[in-house]
Amino acid sequence: VSILIGPDTRLVVQGITGREGEFHSRAMQAYGTPIVAGVTPGKGGQTALDGSVPVYDTVAESVREHGANTCCIFVPAAGAPDAVLEAAAAGIATIFCITEGIPALDMVPVVEAVARAGARLIGPNCPGATSPGSAKVGIIPGSIHREGRVGVVSRSGTLTYEAVQAMTDAGVGQSTCVGIGGDPIIGTTFLDVLQLFAADPGTDAVVLIGEIGGAAEETAAAWAGEHLTDVPRVAFIAGRTAPEGKRMGHAGAIISGGAGTAASKVAALEAAGFRVAGSPTELPALLRDAGYGG
């Protein structure tokens, strides 16, 4: 009834004793996510979150002692690629890397190593994911969600919150919301997430929230046009007014050599049967236009 995270999630938080790590771990725990362990090298044996979560020196111990299968990384950029590799080596299946500002070339060998280990990396520079009603991993505010059957995938953070809030306000609930991250090199793409939603019996419709830069939206659209013909699908693309050659905040959000424009993405999505919203607030109405009845 969800993808990536759900009732079977057993979460270990890397960097749980840091300021960000602790703050967001509390919110994840309050949402009902089972946090089985935290990892901070050198702080093994301590506890976090008011004594409720044991802290280990290594991810491998959290897997051995508690069967952790999912991790959330709040380690600073200099150590984050190593944290991803440690998680993959320890046998963690689903790795969320929230960390922002990792040099892009650091991620090239890391995504390859994660793939070879048979694990999945979401991010870096991503807000995480929520499967409303069962688990939330990352920094997305839990309050914006409502349980339901629409899958949401986005490259952005606060823009996702805006879109999800608009859906929730209109009574449209979500199966899982996934933020894949705004960096140039990321572990999980729009296409990967659409494929997971396509195989999920709990997802009846999809919302794709993209932005300028790269061609990942176009690639996902081409696949969806062939394989999601029965699934109501809507999209929003940010950056119609973005100038060429300027990096719009996200390291990956740049139009270069005329490629990666909003117009190209909107055209590809429309050609693949997506209804493309002019504002995030229009998404729920467009879902209903597309035949979603939930």
Partner: protein, 391 residues
């Protein structure tokens, strides 16, 4: 960060790539002296190139040949101080003019879709690669470096042969591998040589030889990696950075100036772009992209307001905050503080939702700010306010 040609060439030389010698001059006298030196050493002419980061300097008259020291002085005097797309030329590069036999293109870039370093080459050098890609995509040779091992020798050989550089195999392989090495050593997003050229040179014994050399270089650095390359941070050209951009960067904000009249202050890059788009959709023109980042506090909000108001074209400001890590009341306090200090009175429309939105609403109401519930409403109000000012 883009860096100047001369700095990019230095990075190539540091990795052992063949780059003909050059000099950088910031005065006519220095340019003349450099030209005299190259001419005395046997160069038939020198090329003088404006050092600016904007493209199209050749078309703008920023690249010229000179056959004598006097001519070099005249050319340098014309180029130094010249305005190229709004940038004043402060430095020129002087180099012996090459006797070009054939031009090529070679570059290493980050391929986002493949998640690898991509080496691209073409036997059609000297023109923009985008033009080649559009006109003759088959003329572009591509090879991905191994994600773990880098560019392997056999890949570099295959690449060189496919580019038609079999006659210069050893150098071509060294350059291909050197591009990837330059990229990795400096955390570059792009290392481009255009043109890479076979040039005719006179050897010390008088014989004419052909050599493969890098005649131009363009390098773009990954901003995220600059903290671990303090030497490269120094290559950021302060003359070509807008003062507002610098203030924003130093305050931890991401700011990009645009041409419109409605200033935007938003948390999050995707939402900031969306806010600009909705201003446009409501009939206005955004004056800027501004992301205050996650968890922004009052002082960062005040800095953002100063930067927006420094643009005299701004006639209304739209603040859009979706609180997650960012607390709405912190932003509201920053706005109240900023308005108390601001030099000119510009209408401000504020929308704050999410974390501590209720506290923010109370503060804003007390301070008599114009607020909005939805993003669409906020954009419409900002556009209307801007029109009232203009009327």
């Amino acid at each position: 960060v883009k860096i100047q040609e001369a700095d990019a060439k230095s990075l190539l030389v540091a990795q052992g790539l063949p780059v003909p010698e050059w000099a950088v001059a910031d005065s006519v006298a220095d340019a003349r002296a450099a030209a005299e030196r190259f001419l005395a050493a046997g160069a038939g002419a020198v090329v003088i190139k404006a050092q600016v980061l904007v493209g199209g300097r050749g078309k703008a008259g920023g690249v010229k040949l000179a056959g004598s020291a006097d001519e070099a002085e005249r050319v340098a005097a014309a180029i130094l101080g010249m305005d190229i797309k709004g940038i004043q030329v402060r430095k020129v590069l002087v180099a012996p003019a090459a006797d070009i036999v054939r031009e090529y293109y070679m570059a290493a870039v980050l391929d986002r879709a493949a998640r690898r370093i991509l080496l691209m080459g073409s036997a059609e050098g000297g023109v923009e690669i985008e033009q080649v890609a559009a006109g003759h995509p088959e003329a572009i040779v591509r090879r991905h470096a191994d994600p773990m091992l880098g560019l392997l020798d056999f890949q570099a050989r295959e690449f060189a042969f496919a580019m038609g550089l079999g006659g210069q195999l050893k150098t071509a392989v060294a350059i291909a591998k050197g591009l990837v090495r330059t990229m990795l050593a400096n955390d570059a997003d792009l290392v481009e040589i255009n043109p890479l050229a076979i040039v005719r040179e006179q050897a010390p014994d008088g014989a004419v030889v052909e050599r493969l050399v890098c005649l131009d270089a363009k390098v773009t650095l990954d901003d995220s990696a600059l903290p671990r390359h303090p030497g490269l941070e120094a290559l950021r050209d302060p003359d070509e950075e807008d003062p507002a951009d610098r203030e924003a960067r130093e305050a931890g904000l991401t700011f990009i100036k645009l041409d419109g009249t409605i200033g935007c202050m938003v948390n999050g890059a995707g939402l900031a772009m969306t806010t600009m788009d909705l201003v446009k959709r409501a009939g206005g023109e955004p004056a800027n992209f501004l992301d205050i980042g996650g968890g922004a506090r009052a002082d960062r909000v005040a800095a953002a307001m100063r930067i927006i108001l420094a643009d005299p074209k701004v006639t209304a400001i739209l603040v859009n905050i979706f609180g997650g890590i960012t607390r709405g009341d912190e932003v509201a306090r920053g706005l109240i503080e900023a308005r108390a200090q601001q030099a000119r009175d510009v209408p401000m429309i504020v929308r704050i939702v999410g974390t501590n939105a209720a506290e923010a609403a109370a503060l804003l109401e007390e301070a008599r700010f114009t607020t909005a519930d939805s993003l669409d409403e906020a954009a419409a109000k900002a556009v209307a306010a801007s029109r009232d000012v203009a009327a």
